[in-house]
Amino acid sequence: MTEDRLIELIEAWGADPSAFPEAERAAARSMLAAQPARFAAAIAEARALDSALARLPEILPSAALTERLVASAPRPKAATSGFRLPKFAPWAPASGFAALAAGLFMGVMVAPAASASSDTSEVESVIEHALGYDPAAFTEELGE
Protein backbone atom coordinates (compact mmCIF):
# COMPACT_ATOMS: atom_id res chain seq x y z
CA MET A 1 0.00 0.00 0.00
CA THR A 2 1.40 3.36 -1.00
CA GLU A 3 0.20 6.76 0.14
CA ASP A 4 -1.01 7.58 -3.37
CA ARG A 5 -2.96 4.34 -3.53
CA LEU A 6 -4.62 5.05 -0.20
CA ILE A 7 -5.67 8.50 -1.44
CA GLU A 8 -7.16 6.84 -4.55
CA LEU A 9 -9.11 4.41 -2.39
CA ILE A 10 -10.50 7.21 -0.22
CA GLU A 11 -11.49 9.26 -3.25
CA ALA A 12 -13.26 6.34 -4.90
CA TRP A 13 -14.84 4.41 -2.04
CA GLY A 14 -15.25 7.07 0.65
CA ALA A 15 -13.94 7.60 4.17
CA ASP A 16 -14.89 4.20 5.59
CA PRO A 17 -12.19 1.58 4.92
CA SER A 18 -14.80 -1.18 5.16
CA ALA A 19 -15.99 -0.02 1.72
CA PHE A 20 -12.53 -0.50 0.20
CA PRO A 21 -11.77 -3.61 -1.88
CA GLU A 22 -11.23 -6.48 0.55
CA ALA A 23 -7.72 -7.27 -0.67
CA GLU A 24 -6.49 -3.80 0.26
CA ARG A 25 -8.57 -3.14 3.34
CA ALA A 26 -6.18 -4.32 6.03
CA ALA A 27 -3.17 -2.52 4.58
CA ALA A 28 -5.20 0.67 4.20
CA ARG A 29 -6.34 0.51 7.81
CA SER A 30 -2.77 0.04 8.99
CA MET A 31 -1.53 3.03 7.03
CA LEU A 32 -4.40 5.23 8.26
CA ALA A 33 -3.67 4.25 11.84
CA ALA A 34 0.05 4.89 11.41
CA GLN A 35 -0.26 8.35 9.79
CA PRO A 36 -3.66 9.84 10.65
CA ALA A 37 -2.57 13.44 10.04
CA ARG A 38 -1.25 12.63 6.59
CA PHE A 39 -4.73 11.52 5.38
CA ALA A 40 -6.95 13.70 7.60
CA ALA A 41 -7.89 16.16 4.86
CA ALA A 42 -8.77 13.44 2.36
CA ILE A 43 -10.81 11.59 4.98
CA ALA A 44 -12.68 14.76 5.99
CA GLU A 45 -13.61 15.58 2.38
CA ALA A 46 -14.73 12.04 1.72
CA ARG A 47 -16.74 11.95 4.95
CA ALA A 48 -18.58 15.17 4.06
CA LEU A 49 -19.65 13.68 0.74
CA ASP A 50 -20.55 10.35 2.37
CA SER A 51 -22.87 12.09 4.82
CA ALA A 52 -24.43 14.20 2.04
CA LEU A 53 -25.20 10.99 0.14
CA ALA A 54 -26.50 9.31 3.28
CA ARG A 55 -29.04 12.11 3.71
CA LEU A 56 -30.78 11.21 0.46
CA PRO A 57 -34.20 9.75 1.15
CA GLU A 58 -34.80 6.12 0.35
CA ILE A 59 -36.74 5.58 -2.85
CA LEU A 60 -39.54 3.09 -2.27
CA PRO A 61 -42.20 1.79 -4.65
CA SER A 62 -45.76 2.93 -4.01
CA ALA A 63 -48.38 0.36 -3.08
CA ALA A 64 -49.94 0.87 -6.51
CA LEU A 65 -46.68 0.08 -8.30
CA THR A 66 -46.14 -3.01 -6.12
CA GLU A 67 -49.60 -4.28 -7.02
CA ARG A 68 -49.00 -3.65 -10.74
CA LEU A 69 -45.76 -5.63 -10.56
CA VAL A 70 -47.46 -8.51 -8.75
CA ALA A 71 -50.38 -8.46 -11.20
CA SER A 72 -48.03 -8.72 -14.16
CA ALA A 73 -46.56 -11.99 -12.87
CA PRO A 74 -47.41 -15.46 -14.15
CA ARG A 75 -50.81 -16.79 -13.04
CA PRO A 76 -51.03 -19.92 -10.91
CA LYS A 77 -51.55 -23.05 -12.97
CA ALA A 78 -55.21 -24.18 -12.81
CA ALA A 79 -55.86 -27.17 -10.55
CA THR A 80 -56.38 -30.31 -12.64
CA SER A 81 -59.33 -32.29 -11.25
CA GLY A 82 -60.23 -35.32 -13.32
CA PHE A 83 -59.37 -36.01 -16.92
CA ARG A 84 -58.58 -33.11 -19.23
CA LEU A 85 -57.89 -33.36 -22.90
CA PRO A 86 -54.51 -32.02 -23.83
CA LYS A 87 -54.57 -28.82 -25.85
CA PHE A 88 -52.85 -30.57 -28.72
CA ALA A 89 -51.70 -34.11 -29.27
CA PRO A 90 -49.94 -34.88 -32.52
CA TRP A 91 -51.53 -38.32 -32.66
CA ALA A 92 -55.09 -37.00 -32.33
CA PRO A 93 -55.89 -36.60 -36.08
CA ALA A 94 -54.52 -40.06 -36.86
CA SER A 95 -56.56 -41.70 -34.11
CA GLY A 96 -59.69 -39.93 -35.36
CA PHE A 97 -59.24 -41.33 -38.86
CA ALA A 98 -58.55 -44.79 -37.45
CA ALA A 99 -61.76 -44.71 -35.41
CA LEU A 100 -63.76 -43.56 -38.43
CA ALA A 101 -62.35 -46.35 -40.61
CA ALA A 102 -63.05 -48.98 -37.95
CA GLY A 103 -66.61 -47.71 -37.55
CA LEU A 104 -67.29 -47.88 -41.29
CA PHE A 105 -65.81 -51.36 -41.52
CA MET A 106 -67.94 -52.67 -38.64
CA GLY A 107 -71.06 -51.10 -40.11
CA VAL A 108 -70.55 -52.74 -43.51
CA MET A 109 -69.95 -56.15 -41.93
CA VAL A 110 -72.84 -56.09 -39.44
CA ALA A 111 -75.63 -54.34 -41.38
CA PRO A 112 -76.58 -57.20 -43.81
CA ALA A 113 -76.80 -59.75 -41.03
CA ALA A 114 -78.97 -57.52 -38.88
CA SER A 115 -81.42 -56.66 -41.64
CA ALA A 116 -81.83 -60.32 -42.66
CA SER A 117 -82.42 -61.62 -39.15
CA SER A 118 -85.18 -64.17 -38.86
CA ASP A 119 -85.47 -63.40 -35.17
CA THR A 120 -87.10 -60.02 -35.78
CA SER A 121 -90.74 -61.29 -35.72
CA GLU A 122 -90.10 -63.30 -32.57
CA VAL A 123 -88.73 -60.27 -30.81
CA GLU A 124 -91.70 -58.16 -31.95
CA SER A 125 -94.08 -60.80 -30.59
CA VAL A 126 -92.43 -60.80 -27.20
CA ILE A 127 -92.69 -57.01 -27.01
CA GLU A 128 -96.38 -57.02 -28.10
CA HIS A 129 -97.27 -59.53 -25.44
CA ALA A 130 -95.39 -57.61 -22.84
CA LEU A 131 -97.40 -54.52 -23.73
CA GLY A 132 -100.73 -56.41 -23.72
CA TYR A 133 -101.27 -55.75 -27.39
CA ASP A 134 -103.14 -58.41 -29.48
CA PRO A 135 -102.34 -58.15 -33.20
CA ALA A 136 -105.22 -60.46 -34.20
CA ALA A 137 -107.81 -58.30 -32.48
CA PHE A 138 -106.28 -55.25 -34.05
CA THR A 139 -106.64 -56.81 -37.53
CA GLU A 140 -110.30 -57.66 -36.83
CA GLU A 141 -111.02 -54.07 -35.77
CA LEU A 142 -109.55 -52.85 -39.00
CA GLY A 143 -111.70 -55.31 -40.96
CA GLU A 144 -114.89 -53.97 -39.37
Binding site: E8, E11, A12, W13, G14, A19, P21, E45, A46, A48, L49, D50, A52, L53, R55, L56, P57, E58, I59, L60, P61, L65, T66, R68, L69, V70, S72, A73, P74, R75, P76, K77
Partner: protein, 181 residues
Protein backbone atom coordinates in the same frame (compact mmCIF):
# COMPACT_ATOMS: atom_id res chain seq x y z
CA UNK B 1 -28.06 -18.40 1.57
CA UNK B 2 -29.88 -15.62 -0.26
CA UNK B 3 -28.90 -17.28 -3.52
CA UNK B 4 -30.59 -20.59 -2.56
CA UNK B 5 -33.60 -18.74 -1.28
CA UNK B 6 -33.78 -16.84 -4.56
CA UNK B 7 -33.72 -20.04 -6.55
CA UNK B 8 -36.51 -21.54 -4.50
CA UNK B 9 -38.64 -18.42 -4.86
CA UNK B 10 -37.89 -18.17 -8.57
CA UNK B 11 -39.03 -21.76 -9.09
CA UNK B 12 -42.23 -21.17 -7.16
CA UNK B 13 -42.88 -17.80 -8.81
CA UNK B 14 -42.45 -19.38 -12.24
CA UNK B 15 -45.23 -21.80 -11.30
CA UNK B 16 -47.41 -18.84 -10.36
CA UNK B 17 -47.11 -19.06 -6.57
CA UNK B 18 -48.50 -15.66 -5.47
CA UNK B 19 -46.47 -15.58 -2.23
CA UNK B 20 -43.20 -16.18 -4.08
CA UNK B 21 -44.09 -13.53 -6.67
CA UNK B 22 -44.81 -10.99 -3.96
CA UNK B 23 -41.61 -11.88 -2.11
CA UNK B 24 -39.52 -11.25 -5.23
CA UNK B 25 -41.30 -7.96 -5.88
CA UNK B 26 -40.88 -6.81 -2.28
CA UNK B 27 -37.22 -7.76 -2.20
CA UNK B 28 -36.06 -6.35 -5.51
CA UNK B 29 -38.41 -3.60 -6.69
CA UNK B 30 -36.99 -0.92 -4.31
CA UNK B 31 -33.47 -1.40 -5.70
CA UNK B 32 -34.61 -1.42 -9.31
CA UNK B 33 -36.84 1.63 -8.83
CA UNK B 34 -34.11 3.48 -6.95
CA UNK B 35 -31.52 2.78 -9.66
CA UNK B 36 -33.91 3.88 -12.40
CA UNK B 37 -34.95 7.02 -10.51
CA UNK B 38 -31.33 8.08 -9.94
CA UNK B 39 -30.45 7.36 -13.56
CA UNK B 40 -33.45 9.02 -15.18
CA UNK B 41 -34.30 11.68 -12.59
CA UNK B 42 -37.95 11.08 -13.44
CA UNK B 43 -40.21 9.06 -11.17
CA UNK B 44 -42.81 8.16 -13.82
CA UNK B 45 -40.18 6.94 -16.27
CA UNK B 46 -38.45 5.04 -13.47
CA UNK B 47 -41.72 3.25 -12.66
CA UNK B 48 -42.11 2.32 -16.33
CA UNK B 49 -38.59 0.89 -16.34
CA UNK B 50 -39.33 -1.05 -13.15
CA UNK B 51 -42.45 -2.55 -14.69
CA UNK B 52 -40.65 -3.48 -17.90
CA UNK B 53 -37.81 -5.02 -15.90
CA UNK B 54 -40.19 -7.25 -13.94
CA UNK B 55 -42.13 -8.19 -17.07
CA UNK B 56 -38.88 -9.44 -18.57
CA UNK B 57 -38.09 -11.23 -15.34
CA UNK B 58 -41.44 -13.07 -15.34
CA UNK B 59 -40.82 -14.17 -18.93
CA UNK B 60 -37.34 -15.38 -18.04
CA UNK B 61 -38.34 -17.29 -14.90
CA UNK B 62 -39.50 -20.59 -16.44
CA UNK B 63 -36.15 -21.17 -18.12
CA UNK B 64 -34.07 -19.53 -15.39
CA UNK B 65 -30.62 -21.03 -14.96
CA UNK B 66 -28.69 -19.82 -11.92
CA UNK B 67 -25.59 -18.75 -13.79
CA UNK B 68 -25.93 -15.23 -12.39
CA UNK B 69 -27.56 -13.90 -9.27
CA UNK B 70 -31.14 -12.91 -9.90
CA UNK B 71 -30.46 -9.51 -8.33
CA UNK B 72 -27.52 -8.87 -10.66
CA UNK B 73 -29.52 -9.91 -13.72
CA UNK B 74 -32.48 -7.74 -12.69
CA UNK B 75 -30.36 -4.63 -12.10
CA UNK B 76 -28.52 -5.15 -15.39
CA UNK B 77 -31.82 -5.32 -17.28
CA UNK B 78 -33.03 -2.16 -15.53
CA UNK B 79 -29.78 -0.37 -16.26
CA UNK B 80 -29.89 -1.25 -19.95
CA UNK B 81 -33.48 -0.01 -20.14
CA UNK B 82 -32.33 3.26 -18.55
CA UNK B 83 -29.48 3.58 -21.06
CA UNK B 84 -32.02 3.07 -23.89
CA UNK B 85 -34.25 5.83 -22.55
CA UNK B 86 -31.35 8.22 -22.02
CA UNK B 87 -30.17 7.55 -25.59
CA UNK B 88 -33.66 8.27 -26.92
CA UNK B 89 -33.79 11.50 -24.95
CA UNK B 90 -30.55 12.63 -26.56
CA UNK B 91 -31.80 11.63 -30.02
CA UNK B 92 -35.01 13.57 -29.52
CA UNK B 93 -33.07 16.73 -28.69
CA UNK B 94 -30.55 16.95 -31.53
CA UNK B 95 -27.99 19.68 -31.17
CA UNK B 96 -29.09 20.68 -27.69
CA UNK B 97 -26.70 20.54 -24.79
CA UNK B 98 -27.79 18.43 -21.83
CA UNK B 99 -29.61 20.39 -19.19
CA UNK B 100 -27.07 20.65 -16.41
CA UNK B 101 -28.58 21.90 -13.22
CA UNK B 102 -26.50 24.35 -11.23
CA UNK B 103 -26.12 22.38 -8.06
CA UNK B 104 -23.28 24.32 -6.48
CA UNK B 105 -23.92 25.46 -2.96
CA UNK B 106 -22.57 28.83 -1.94
CA UNK B 107 -20.83 28.48 1.43
CA UNK B 108 -22.84 31.30 2.97
CA UNK B 109 -26.17 29.82 1.93
CA UNK B 110 -28.07 28.15 4.69
CA UNK B 111 -30.01 25.61 2.72
CA UNK B 112 -32.66 23.58 4.34
CA UNK B 113 -32.68 19.84 4.16
CA UNK B 114 -35.01 19.58 1.14
CA UNK B 115 -32.87 22.02 -0.83
CA UNK B 116 -29.75 20.03 -0.02
CA UNK B 117 -31.42 16.82 -1.08
CA UNK B 118 -32.57 18.39 -4.33
CA UNK B 119 -29.10 19.72 -4.98
CA UNK B 120 -27.48 16.33 -4.42
CA UNK B 121 -30.09 14.52 -6.51
CA UNK B 122 -29.65 17.06 -9.28
CA UNK B 123 -25.90 16.66 -9.18
CA UNK B 124 -26.14 12.85 -9.38
CA UNK B 125 -28.64 13.15 -12.24
CA UNK B 126 -26.24 15.42 -14.10
CA UNK B 127 -23.35 12.95 -13.90
CA UNK B 128 -22.40 10.92 -16.97
CA UNK B 129 -24.69 7.90 -16.97
CA UNK B 130 -22.13 5.23 -16.08
CA UNK B 131 -20.74 7.34 -13.23
CA UNK B 132 -24.26 7.86 -11.95
CA UNK B 133 -24.93 4.11 -12.14
CA UNK B 134 -21.70 3.19 -10.32
CA UNK B 135 -22.33 5.74 -7.57
CA UNK B 136 -25.93 4.61 -7.10
CA UNK B 137 -25.03 0.92 -6.96
CA UNK B 138 -22.05 1.28 -4.61
CA UNK B 139 -22.54 4.39 -2.49
CA UNK B 140 -26.34 4.47 -2.28
CA UNK B 141 -27.45 0.87 -2.58
CA UNK B 142 -24.49 -0.82 -0.91
CA UNK B 143 -23.72 -3.36 -3.64
CA UNK B 144 -20.30 -4.95 -3.30
CA UNK B 145 -17.57 -4.04 -5.78
CA UNK B 146 -17.97 -7.42 -7.49
CA UNK B 147 -21.76 -7.08 -7.77
CA UNK B 148 -21.51 -3.57 -9.18
CA UNK B 149 -18.89 -4.74 -11.67
CA UNK B 150 -21.16 -7.61 -12.76
CA UNK B 151 -24.16 -5.33 -13.17
CA UNK B 152 -22.17 -2.75 -15.12
CA UNK B 153 -20.37 -5.51 -17.05
CA UNK B 154 -16.95 -4.00 -16.34
CA UNK B 155 -14.00 -4.80 -14.08
CA UNK B 156 -13.81 -3.78 -10.42
CA UNK B 157 -10.96 -1.43 -11.37
CA UNK B 158 -13.21 0.27 -13.91
CA UNK B 159 -15.93 0.63 -11.25
CA UNK B 160 -13.38 2.30 -8.99
CA UNK B 161 -12.42 4.71 -11.75
CA UNK B 162 -16.08 5.64 -12.39
CA UNK B 163 -16.66 6.14 -8.67
CA UNK B 164 -13.60 8.32 -8.24
CA UNK B 165 -14.66 10.59 -11.09
CA UNK B 166 -18.26 10.74 -9.87
CA UNK B 167 -17.24 11.63 -6.34
CA UNK B 168 -14.73 14.21 -7.54
CA UNK B 169 -17.45 15.95 -9.57
CA UNK B 170 -19.96 15.84 -6.72
CA UNK B 171 -17.40 17.12 -4.24
CA UNK B 172 -16.54 20.00 -6.52
CA UNK B 173 -20.17 20.92 -7.14
CA UNK B 174 -21.67 20.39 -3.73
CA UNK B 175 -18.97 21.00 -1.21
CA UNK B 176 -16.44 23.26 -2.79
CA UNK B 177 -18.77 25.38 -4.92
CA UNK B 178 -16.65 25.06 -8.03
CA UNK B 179 -16.78 23.15 -11.28
CA UNK B 180 -14.82 19.94 -11.56
CA UNK B 181 -12.12 19.90 -14.27
Amino acid sequence: MAFTSDLDQITRAAAGDPAAVRALVNRYSPGVLSLATRMLADRAEAEDVTQETFLRAWKALPGWEPRAKFSTWLHRVALNLCYDRLRKRKESLPGELPDMADTRLAPHEALDQSQRVSAIEGAIGALPERQSAALTLCALQGHSQAEAADILEISVEAVESLLARARRTLRAQLLEGRTSP
